[in-house]
């Protein structure tokens, strides 16, 4: 009988010990710094929280009360949204600027499309449809990050599942999983998005690497973008990765022609304290592979051209500094390094009714490569697929384009999904051209600054190879390459005179109607004119 009385406290104690022994939530922070060919510095902050043993919510339980969730490090606000809409995998990126693949190579964080991009994998089978949950997800994230993600509505939502394969695992629920993807190129990331982002971190921006996230410097960078990635790592659990990536230009801020940089010069801050809950906290610096340079302080570990600082053990305040004795000379040409091909997309034609979309892809490799080309175009631009042609050096090449998938747009709602497999011959430039029509919008559909035009989302090109077992699917060989966004100038009606137009047209129609029925109904008479005096 005694044992029963003491059983509860003992069990509790065991539970506590168990928690301490194998932590439920693991938080890691990491900063990698990389000097680029053109003297700029790419930095990427990664904050990873792993919720051990957790799994995404089964959509079949969405209508029931959710199991209670207890988070200490995992961001609660985000966790609630994920549970509420049964999201298995989620990727949100908010970027400003155009990532220059030719000079900067592949980014560490691959979602670098200009503007906002959101894609999520969700299991079907809930009481509510995927589209309803997608709408709810957009609105919640919009509120959480103070961004116009809610305007990623059905005008911009597509489902190009081949180009956006899930990065984590999908639970085996015997339910089909579906992708929803939308991008809004005109959305710009700014301080109001960073503040809620920082709130999701366990140490905010008070200590650890996150202390370097100084909005004044981040948003001054040539390129900057933040990302939220949620994925399920199978048995390990649910992982949330918060990333912030910048490309800053040390040459811009110095009067000397020097590409020297330090944490102080890049972020105007140093790392003064460690974040106590962080499991690991590391700074990776990619060392230049040629030329004289000096790095201080001495890194904790240095291997494979990487200098690694363990923030927990090094002396603080930590101010990593990389210096070159010689002045920086801009290279005359850039080696295309990690990107096998470069892309240039333009919209030509001066008319507001017609245009031509042209994409030039140059293969830098000495072997042929296959690329999956994806356009998710709002209905503002409608493709004429029969004019699609590929040329190499001005000569028509018919075998370049294959495996065409095309979902035409629906005016005033669905966007176009256009996907094709391109075969790029070695060391050649392929020109792809297609005629397009530009839409005529209702006057209520135009944005307040209608004359500015509309931003069109970037196209996405993924190097792929055909799967061995299934000829209709592809295995990606590298990260996606985002093209620059386009600006389309649509014809505008006169915004000041809807009433006038309604009145003019109605008057004309009423006048004709009246006259016609007047003539039809009135009686004919012969009038004798009075004799002239």
């Amino acid at each position: 009988m005694l044992s029963r009385q003491y059983l509860w406290p003992i069990t509790l104690l065991h539970l506590c010990l168990g928690t301490i022994a194998s932590p439920q939530e693991i938080f890691d922070e990491k900063l990698s710094l990389n000097t680029l060919q053109d003297g700029k510095v790419a930095s990427k902050f990664t904050f990873t929280t792993l919720l051990n043993g957790a799994s995404p919510r089964d959509p079949r339980t969405l209508h029931k009360e959710d199991d209670s969730q207890h988070y200490t490090l995992f961001p609660l606000a985000l966790g609630q949204i994920l549970r509420e809409y049964g999201v298995t995998e989620l990727h949100l990126t908010l970027n400003a600027g155009k990532w220059n693949y030719d000079r900067w190579g592949y980014p560490e964080e691959k979602g670098v499309g200009t503007g906002a991009e959101l894609w999520a994998w969700m299991g079907d089978g809930a009481n509510t449809t995927i589209d309803e949950r997608w709408k709810g997800l957009r609105n919640s994230l919009s509120g959480l990050f103070c961004a116009s993600i809610a305007s990623l509505d059905e005008l911009r939502t597509t489902s190009p599942s081949q180009s956006f394969a899930p990065e984590g695992a999908l639970p085996d629920w015997d339910l089909p999983h579906q992708l929803r993807h939308a991008s809004l190129p005109s959305e710009h990331v700014c301080t109001e998005n960073l503040t809620p982002f920082l709130k999701l971190l366990p140490c905010k921006s008070l200590s650890g690497i996150a202390a370097l996230l100084n909005p004044h410097k981040l948003f001054d960078a040539d390129w900057h973008g933040m990302g939220v990635h949620v994925l399920w790592r199978g048995d390990e659990g649910v992982e949330v990765q918060l990333t912030f990536q910048t490309v800053s230009d040390p040459l811009r801020i110095t009067s000397r022609k020097s590409q020297d940089w330090s944490l102080q010069s890049l972020f105007d801050r140093t790392v003064d304290r460690t974040c106590p809950v962080a499991e690991t906290s590391q700074i990776f610096v990619t060392l230049p592979n040629r030329g004289l340079y000096s790095i201080s302080p001495e890194p904790s570990v240095s291997k494979n051209g990487l200098a690694i600082y363990d923030v927990k053990s090094v002396n603080k305040p930590l101010n990593v500094e990389l210096k070159w004795p010689e002045a920086f000379n801009y290279p005359l040409s850039y080696s295309s390094g990690t990107t096998p091909f470069s892309v240039k997309r333009t919209l030509t034609g001066s008319s507001q009714a017609l245009g031509r979309l042209s994409v030039a892809i140059t293969n830098h490799r000495t072997e042929a490569i296959s690329v999956l080309y994806l356009e998710t175009m709002p209905w503002l631009l409608q493709f004429f697929l029969h004019t699609l042609e590929a040329r190499i050096d001005g000569v028509l090449a018919h075998d370049i384009i294959s495996d065409l998938t095309y979902i035409p747009s629906v005016p005033h709602s669905r966007p176009t999904t256009f996907q094709a497999l391109l075969h790029l011959p070695p060391k050649k430039t392929v020109q792809i051209k297609m005629d397009v029509t530009k839409a005529f919008l209702r006057y209520t559909e135009h944005p307040p600054d209608a004359q500015r035009g509309w931003d069109l989302p970037p196209a996405i090109l993924v190097p792929v190879e055909r799967s061995q077992n299934d000829s209709s699917s592809f295995t990606p060989l590298g990260g996606p390459v985002y093209t620059s966004t386009l600006l389309v100038d649509l014809a505008t009606p006169d915004f000041s005179m809807p009433y006038n137009v309604i009145i003019f047209t109605c008057t004309l129609i009423a006048g004709l109607f009246g006259t016609v029925f007047n003539i039809l109904t009135r009686k004919w008479v012969v009038v004798r004119l009075a004799a002239q005096p």
């Binding site: 006057y443 004919w524 008479v525």
Partner: protein, 369 residues
């Protein structure tokens, strides 16, 4: 909307196993699609020959209508009538642009021609085909049915109550319905589903595409407040068919003239008008030489047309290509164009009724009470 580019796009999608009616800008009937996709090779050169042949057929049909109207086997004016059709700038321009509305015009003329010759089945079949291509053509079904039971010979000058057996129209309408049903079935079989209905007929009624045309709809619904849009769509559609019965009753003694007037109504008020719609109406005036004397203001009408046809391409270019004008410029010219067509319609309507009173006599004036 009637653009050859859109047809080619539809054929391309169709040949690549993509349903052209699953969205996009293809709004042509599946009949036209299958016609082009199977019978004709897809080349612009062949298309221009086809369009030329199509125009010649239209002109011949109009000559036949003219002969039937005059009740002669041959007339010295045949060439003139044909030339008035082929060389009408509105018709010529849309043929040069390879607009599918030229095909619709020819079908309309051929259908009227058969109706004039009393060949009911041929006329009704072509009419149902035409209605498939452009739903608005439903407006001319009633006068053509009357024409089939009546006579094409002019009796404008001697109005009398309809003498033919009106009950025959019911069976003729049944025949029309049968053809229409069969063609609908064929279209559905071609597409494999009913999605084409909302893309073709639905577009005629709902106006999803606001591309500028020569008509009155596009700018009106561009500038329409969202909450009034369904109401005004209803008003505009009902307004189009409201003329049918009054004109048919008034001109029951001359159904060909009623058909002619309703073609004028169509060219003014239908949803996606092209240049060739008013072109057909204006060319058809040649079939009714008896009314010329009674037209009140032909000069004004002609000048309005001249004004509109000179300024319309100019302002379209200024707005969309040059970027120096705005939408109101082009809208204003479409209003003038509508005035010109309205003036022509009203004048013809007036003259068609006025002719019954006889020529003017000094000291008397004929007017309406």
């Amino acid at each position: 909307m009637t653009w050859i580019f859109a047809v080619q796009e539809g054929i391309y999608l169709f040949n690549h196993d993509i349903d052209p009616y699953s969205g996009g800008s293809f709004r042509h009937s599946p009949l036209l699609l299958s016609f082009f996709a199977t019978i004709l090779p897809n080349s612009t050169k062949l298309a221009s020959i086809l369009w030329a042949v199509n125009d010649v057929v239209g002109a011949l049909a109009m000559v036949q209508i003219y002969r039937a109207r005059q009740n002669v086997r041959q007339s010295p004016r045949d060439t003139l009538v044909a030339a008035l059709y082929i060389l009408n700038p509105y018709i010529l321009l849309s043929s040069l642009a390879l607009s599918t509305s030229s095909i619709e015009n020819t079908l309309m003329l051929v259908s009227i021609m058969f109706a004039c010759q009393g060949k009911a089945s041929a006329s009704l079949f072509i009419l149902s085909f035409l209605t498939h291509l452009s739903l608005s053509s439903l407006v001319v079904v009633l006068p053509i049915l009357l024409l089939l039971i009546g006579s094409p010979v002019s009796s404008l000058a001697s109005p009398k109550a309809l003498q033919a057996n009106i009950k025959r129209t019911v069976s003729l309408f049944g025949e029309f319905g049968l053809y229409f049903g069969v063609l609908t079935l064929v279209s559905t079989l071609v597409c494999g589903n009913c999605g084409w209905i909302s893309q073709t007929w639905g577009a005629t009624l709902m106006l999803p595409d606001l591309t500028p045309t020569t008509g009155l709809w596009w700018y009106f619904f561009t500038e329409m407040f969202d909450h009034f849009r369904p109401f005004f769509l209803m008003v505009f559609n009902v307004h189009l068919i409201i003329y049918v019965v009054p004109i048919c009753i008034k001109f029951q003694y001359d159904p060909l003239y009623a058909t002619f007037l309703l073609i004028g109504i169509l060219s003014l008020f239908k949803s996606y008008t092209t240049l060739s719609d008013p072109g057909l109406f204006l060319s058809m005036i040649a079939v009714f030489p008896e009314i010329f004397y009674y037209l009140r203001h032909p000069i004004v009408t002609a000048l309005l047309h001249l004004h509109a046809s000179l300024l319309m391409p100019l302002f379209h270019h200024l707005w969309l290509t040059q970027g120096t004008g705005n939408a109101n410029f082009f809208y204003a010219t479409t209003l003038v164009f509508a005035c010109a067509n309205g003036a022509a319609l009203i004048d013809c309507l007036w003259a068609g009724l006025r002719i019954a009173i006889g020529p003017d006599v000094d000291g008397y004036v004929v007017t309406q009470e």
